[in-house]
Structure formats: structure tokens, C-alpha cells
Assembly symmetry: C2
Homo-oligomer: 336 residues x 2
């Protein structure tokens, strides 16, 4: 198996990215080949600094870098030799089995969708993001690939997510909730109202509408929504820990006693919030594309990158794309 890693994508690329990739190789005992895509000299520099010789890696040169804040479509057109575009073509040509990037999310999603194409029967690929709950993890889909989805897309998201959660997150028959603003089937916007009956007859383990407060409470394993709502919820969720941190700083600033209090709490709080960090989750898969594309957080740490590479390996092993194709073909007639 060959897994491509965008060595140039991420706030601390290439250093942390290369380090995470090499750690995955070490831990796995060179179980797969890691294909580092990026500026060859820079990547080689990091590898020698990290004493990576003997590991099962190769480098594919890509001279350009799409920056985190560039407009995706423009960047993709102008930077044909960027790590994101080069990696996507390697993937399309099946020179690699998966492609992982913590770089510009929009550019990576667009490159994956346009270059790889979609799984047969899938109208719109969608990003699924694991989110912590009180007792475990849920899977928020679509967390940002699509706006103005149609009802049958919502069903597709549910099918793809259910497969992912079953195969990779190891939950048998995951519950699927439609993110809405009330419990009754008649509640919500036009999209939610039209999606509800399709979900009911979809064959998914649909438990009905769930509300914003039910996400962290862990009421559903799969939280279904349009990517506009999902992305806002995801970014809001990601801002909670930084907000807590800022509050602590404000509380402690200029007061020694409080500084000590806050310091003492930090350690316990970390334990309390264990699992509330994205690092453990192995990134967010873009489901429904012809391949295995995993999106990492821009601030991905070494640990996060390592886990994404392992996640990619797992998705290839489970043949998620094929499972999606099979399930979508069964559901199509019923749902649309």
C-alpha cells in the first residue's frame, strides 16, 4: 500500500508533517510506503534532521505550495505543480492508494473532487468530522464540502457516514440523527422537512431529528446536515477550547494567586477534557470521492498527522469507496 502525504500542507509544514508521517512508518514497522509530496529539498532536509533513513518512504517533487489562506479555485488553476494538485493526480493514476493533507482545506476538497471524481451514484462528496461527545464520539457530516444541498444529498451523506462509522469507528448499526430545530418531522427549514421522509425509508438507523444541544450529548452517532450548517457548528465547536483558554488567561492575568489556581487546574482540566482534542481522530475523510482523501486540521500536530496516516491505511483496507458504491446503488431507487 502507498499513502501520499502532503508534506507542505499545515501551519507547521513541512517539519511536523514529515515527522508525523515518519512516526507512522516507524510505529507500523514500514507496513506501507509513505509518499511525501512537496518541495524535494525541503522534505529531504527534514527527513535527514529526523534521522529517517531506513524508513519506507519516497518523495515526489512538487515545486509549488498552496498557502492556507489562498482562494481554492484560483490557487488550483495557478499552481498546477503544488503538492495538493500533484498528490491528487498521483492518487487518480493509482500510483498511491490514499492522499492525506493538512493544507488548504478548500483547495484539497476541490482537487480531490475534481481530479479523482465521484464514487458511482454519489451526487456530492461530503466531509465527515468526528466530534467528541460526553461519552464518546459522533460524526458530523457534511461539515463543509457543500452548501445548499438537496434532500437526496442528505440521504447520501447518511449512507456514506454510516459505512464509515461502522467500518472505521467500529460502531455497529450507527444511529443517524437529522440536525434540526425541533423534534417533530414537520420542523425546520425546507431542506430538513424534505429530508426527513427520505431518511425514514432509507434503511438507515434513522432516529429522527436532533437539536444543537444533542450533538455534544451524544444523542446520535451520525449527525446529518448541510455543509453550511455543519461547517459553522464545527468551527464553533473548535473555538470552545481556545475560548476556555483565553478566559483562563484573563482570569489569571496580573494576580499571582489566581495564576497558581489556574495552573493547578490546567492539568486536571486536561484530564477532564480528554478526547476533546481533534488530534486523536485521524482527520476528516472526504467521503464519496474515488479514493481515500483525508483532510487534516491546519494546526495538525505530529500526533494528528500520524493518526491521519493510520486512518488512511484503515480506509484503504476496508475499501470504503466500494462499500459506499454498493450501498448507494441499493438506496438510490428508494430515496431519490
Amino acid at each position: 500500500m502507498r499513502i501520499a502525504l502532503d508534506a507542505m500542507g499545515g501551519d507547521e509544514a513541512p517539519l511536523k508533517i514529515v515527522e508525523g508521517g515518519l512516526q507512522a512508518l516507524k510505529e507500523s514497522g514500514n507496513r506501507f510506503e509513505l509518499v511525501l509530496v512537496g518541495r524535494k529539498q525541503e522534505v529531504e532536509g527534514e527527513i535527514s534532521r529526523l534521522s529517517g533513513s531506513g524508513l519506507n518512504y519516497s518523495i515526489v517533487d512538487a515545486t509549488e505550495v498552496i498557502k492556507m489562506d489562498e482562494t481554492p479555485n484560483t490557487a488550483l488553476k495557478q499552481k498546477r505543480d503544488s503538492s495538493i494538485v500533484v498528490g491528487a493526480y498521483l492518487h487518480k493514476e493509482r500510483k498511491v492508494d490514499a492522499f492525506v493533507s493538512a493544507g488548504n482545506t478548500g483547495a484539497f476538497m476541490a482537487a480531490s473532487t475534481l481530479i479523482l471524481g465521484r464514487v458511482k451514484g454519489v451526487g456530492r462528496p461530503a466531509v465527515g468530522t468526528p466530534l467528541p461527545t460526553v461519552t464518546g464520539t459522533c460524526f458530523l457530516i457534511d461539515s463543509g464540502a457543500n452548501s445548499d444541498s438537496r434532500p437526496h444529498h442528505i440521504v447520501e451523506f447518511g449512507v456514506m457516514a454510516s459505512i464509515f462509522v461502522r467500518e472505521i469507528m467500529k460502531k455497529e448499526d450507527p444511529t443517524v440523527g437529522l440536525l434540526n430545530i425541533g423534534e417533530e418531522a414537520s420542523k425546520g427549514n425546507e431542506l430538513a422537512q424534505a429530508s426527513y421522509p427520505l431518511l425514514e425509508k432509507s434503511g438507515l438507523n434513522f432516529i429522527g431529528n436532533i437539536e444543537g444541544r444533542d450533538i455534544l450529548a451524544g444523542k446520535a452517532d451520525v449527525v446529518l446536515c448541510d455543509g453550511f450548517v455543519g461547517n459553522i457548528v464545527l468551527k464553533f465547536a473548535e473555538s470552545i477550547l481556545p475560548t476556555l483558554r483565553s478566559r483562563f488567561k484573563l482570569f489569571a492575568s496580573g494576580n499571582v494567586l489566581r495564576m497558581v489556581q489556574a495552573g493547578l487546574m490546567a492539568k486536571t482540566l486536561k484530564k477532564v477534557l480528554k478526547g476533546f482534542s481533534y488530534e486523536a481522530y485521524g482527520g476528516a475523510p472526504l467521503l464519496g470521492v474515488n479514493g481515500v482523501s483525508i483532510i487534516g486540521h491546519g494546526s495538525s500536530s505530529v500526533l494528528a498527522v500520524k493518526n491521519m496516516v493510520f486512518r488512511a491505511e484503515e480506509m484503504v483496507n476496508h475499501n470504503i469507496g466500494k462499500l459506499i458504491e454498493n450501498s448507494i446503488s441499493k438506496i438510490e431507487g428508494k430515496a431519490v
Copy 2:
């Protein structure tokens, strides 16, 4: 001035509600008349228990109660003598200047909108909810009155919110951000894309798009969105503290040392999160109706009810409805 209070609305009604109302009277030195709407005998019972004699209150009997989980429209039709319906008619007939309820939100919104009618020029009344940020408070509108809003409704929400934030939350020229999934004007769903140019020429202090992570960071004083998105964000936000609490319990359960640690932290954490409780905010105004309607959280405490009554008084004093009418009439030609 006469302020009506739905004595039967809220998880701990009528006790906590009546107590909050009477406290407002006491603290204000009977500055206004409090009109308690609800089952007369029950309300009188609470008043005598709370030694409320000598306070400037009256009771208007309403024999029925709309429960928290009833379907709004059905309940309104069937329970014509409920505190919510009776209070709304008192308000419409100008026997009271404001109506405050911590009861069934959907029923209260519907009764207010249908019975009071809308301010001239307002297409859709909207709920605005104060939310804590790292350094202060923002105002999320619409947080649940409307789904599938049109672009000119978003502009209306911005106008109404800017007036409220300026007059009541005392921020000169509040900044207005459009909740979206990217910074550029071209980002987002059709609604966001079409709203952006209208907001640019609205005369509001529009600072462009903001993302989910910018809400708690306090990037904008007014956070604009459709009520579907706003309600999901609001309920998600409200679930953060309960989630933290559950996590603490899990952490501490069955381990004495950890219980002590958690106990020690609780006090400090409370200080750190000061202001992160909804109690201080005086409820969520339904802006754009012909009157002053304030919606309280179902779990409103005595303090929360008291603050809502004061908030209602302030809104009457500032004549928010008239200010909205004037501003909407100026903006209409430009925006729509």
C-alpha cells in the same frame, strides 16, 4: 408602566417566576406594575408564601397552561385561556406595555407574532439572543424564529439588532457580521451570497463575513444568520456548560482524590466562566413585533426572571419598536 409576566411559563413555574417578578418590584421600589398572568389561586398562593403584600402587582386569571413540550400551533388553538394567549391579548389591547415569558418558546413567539402583529415595514420578527464571548457579549439574530429567510430579512435582522444592541446593550455603532463559512463575499450558501451585497449598502456597520469560530471570539457585536442556523448554534452553545459538568462528573466518579480535585476546581471554574451563564442577560427579545416580547429560557432562575422584567422595562423606555419602524422605513428602498 405595566409589565405582564407569564406566571405559568418555565420549568419551575409558578414559584420561581413569581419570585423573580416580585424581586424586580422590590428592587425597583414598585417603579412599575407587574401583571402576573396565570392560574389566579396558584399565583396568589405563591405571593402569600413570598410575603408579596404591599408590592405593586396585579393578577390576571388564565385557567390553562401550555406545557413546555406542547406543539405550539395546536396548543395556541386549543388553549385560548392559557397564560400565553391571555397575556398576548392584554399586550395587544395595550393593557400592558410588555410581556415576558419563560414558557413554551414556540407558542410564545407564535402568539406574539400573530396577536400583536408586526412593526410596520418588518417582514419577519426575529429572536435575538445575547451570547457570551471571550471579552464581552454578542447578539445572535435570528436565533430561531424563522427558517428559510430571504436576503432582505437578514438585513432587517441586522437593523433591528443594531438598534437593540445600541440602545439596550449600550454599544455605540455595533459591528455586524454575517455568519458564513468563509471570509470572501462569494462564500457560502445562496442566502449568504445574496445577503452580503445588501448588507454592504444597508448603512449598518457591516464588517463582512464571520465564521463559526469568530462568535465566541467576539469578532462582531451582531451575528447575523437565518433562524435555522442560529437556533442550532444557540442550542449547541447552551450545551457546552452542561457537557463540561457531565465530563467533570465522569472524571470524579468513584475516585475520592478526583472528587476533591473537581470540587476545588468548580469554584475557580465558575469565576473563570463568569458571564457564561444566560441568567444575567435578561432574556431574548422577539424584535419586530408590535410590542415588547421577551423570551426566557425554560430553566429560568429567579435572577433570570428578575433581569427579564427589568429588560422589558428598559425596552419600553427606549421605545425600541418605534426606533425599528423608523430605521426600517429608511433602509427599505436601499436594501430590498
